[in-house]
Amino acid sequence: MLVIVAGIAAVLRPRAASTLDFYLAGQRVGVATNACAICGDYFSAASFLGVAAAVYVSGLDGVWYATGFAAGFVPVLLFVAAPLRRFGEFSIPDFLGRRLESEKVRLAAVTVIQLIILSYLVPQAVGSGITWELLVGHGIAGLSPYATGVLFSTAAITALVALGGMRGTTWTQAVQFLLLLSAFIWLTIAVIGAGFNYPDAVAELTREPLGNPEHAGGQWRTATEPNRIEPGTPAYFGEPGARYGRLGQFALIITLIMGTAGLPHIMNRYFTSPTGTAARMTTVWVLGLAGLFYTLAVLLGTAARTIIADAADELPWLDALTVHGVLRVPEHAPLVLGRIYGGELGLGFIATGALVAVMSTIAGLLLASAASWGHDVYERHLNPRATQRQAVWAGRIAVAVVALLSAVIAVSLRPDSLGALLPSMVATMVTWAFALAGSALTPVFLLAIWWPRTTATGAIAGMSTGAAAAMAMFAAGTFADDSGLREMLLTPTVVAAPLAVVVTIVVSRHTSTPVNLESLWLRLHGTAADRHITRLARLTVAGVTPRRARATRHDGTRGRMGKGERHE
């Protein structure tokens, strides 16, 4: 698989060494390809391992991760996709900097985006370490299996991204998504073919209180999960309350809904669409594919809970991984199912899917990081006279530095040291990235697109407030004793995002809008460029050469395009 992916990256590498090719794949990525690439980018270890793990460990409350991850694309479709593409640019900081005509906004956005990228990269690297540990079981050059997995996957994907740029990454991510989906489809067919009945399994699991392993006093034991909605009673698999209290149920879903629109690696993909309308329709496809993917992930989390418990007595190799038939590390759930139904080959297939999920997301994050360092900092501030080749190399160096930093942080975290604190560590850590994105970036992003009065000073104030509030709440939540308050503080978007909106609006009302607001607004919401591109594409398909097409466009008697532009 790695060889195939490397081959795609090598064949599609940006030969012209232009930043448009390296960061945006020449802005010619079609709807279906881009939708698959966005899914490959978005479905990370949190989706492939984390969602099934969250369902496995928390039942219905874990399902909310899947729902929130998918739901986030609805506001993207409604508010962001088309205008973002129509305005163009290379990255979110580039978009905000040009829309608000301010270099300070650009640099503030770069800072926030680097924090989001790092928060997102670390759990991916953790996911690769966990997978390597289970799949290979031994390290290289004296390293632990976990550290070897982290370093190997990070190094491999760094090389692919530096080589392939956005064009190579687009195709590898699309292929990687199809592999992820096929892994889940195979596992679902295998599970159902072996007699798994989804509704009956939920009923069976809900008869007894939900129990999970915990490590206390040097020994593993199974502890019943308390119901956080009805204190004093046990939690059940098919009912809410195993993970979140009354407020936490809403706080998590709002955090995930708001976060997606602020994820730099996902939003950057919209700049690669040829038109705003194509970007909008790409999101419709993404929602369809995400629905299918997460439905299967939830089913497999449920299946793992019943099947692994039943198989624990018959399969000796499960002894080291389970306590009374329940997995110690819930992220192992899809991998163990793969081994039960496909032996070592099945484990290898699912583990490859997990590594691919990690690598495709790392690729997108590294490219987003490269775009913001290489384009927004290096090209705009450090070396404004940089050649295209120098700018691309700056992006490649940024890829290597950010990858190394995330790998070092991931190696310093041991998954089993945090396992007791965070039921599904990978999904929980990714939620932090969503919280930061939804609190600091999404509010400013939405206002900049839909409220013309937004100013640069207001945007900086809003971003700073959202980021500071989110981080302060995280820190407070880590030490909070009360479980209701704690879960609220650890998913802070429900408070931090409205705060960022209010601050942005208040400050914007007391400061000046950009001088060229009218032309900026036209560029953001006008469709002339879309129509131009669509018409050229249709003429090309109809066999008219580009030269003829240009001549047609300049012909006053047939110049519909010109009339359209005047009409706006």
Binding site: L60, V63, W64, A66, T67, A70, A71, F73, V74, P75, L77, L78, N197, Y198, P199, D200, A201, V202, A203, E204, T206, I229, G238, E239, P240, R246, Q249, F250, I253, I257, T277, R280, M281, T283, V284, L287, G288, A290, G291, L292, V298, L299, W450, W521, L522, H525, G526, T527, A528, D530, R531, T534, R535, R538, L539, R560, K563, G564, H567, E568
Partner: protein
């Protein structure tokens, strides 16, 4: 273009409101109706489980298709469609 922008903003806010109400209603009904979380709809699945595990994804897809179709239509009518011969001044197809 200002009119189309305002219309698209209204469309987006309208669909977003429907989306938010439905999504938040799923955990919200847990607090109001015991049957929502403990009743049985399909086999052993409660209505809450069915909605969270399958139903909401179908809803997201349907609302996405409806919103995208309406937004594309609004842009086509108010700013001009992409098709050859489309006349944005009167919103009708020009067959010439």
């Amino acid at each position: 273009m200002d009119a189309s922008c305002r219309t698209l903003r209204r469309v987006a806010i309208g669909y977003f409101t429907v989306f938010l109400v439905v999504v938040l209603a799923v955990p919200g009904l847990t607090l109001a109706l015991d049957w929502w979380s403990r009743g049985r709809l399909i086999g052993g699945m409660s209505p809450n489980f069915v909605m969270a595990a399958v139903g909401l994804y179908v809803f997201f897809f349907v609302i996405a298709i409806a919103a995208a179709t309406l937004a594309n239509a609004v842009e086509g009518r108010m700013l001009g469609g992409p098709g050859p011969g489309h006349d944005p001044d009167n919103g009708q197809r020009d067959q010439s």
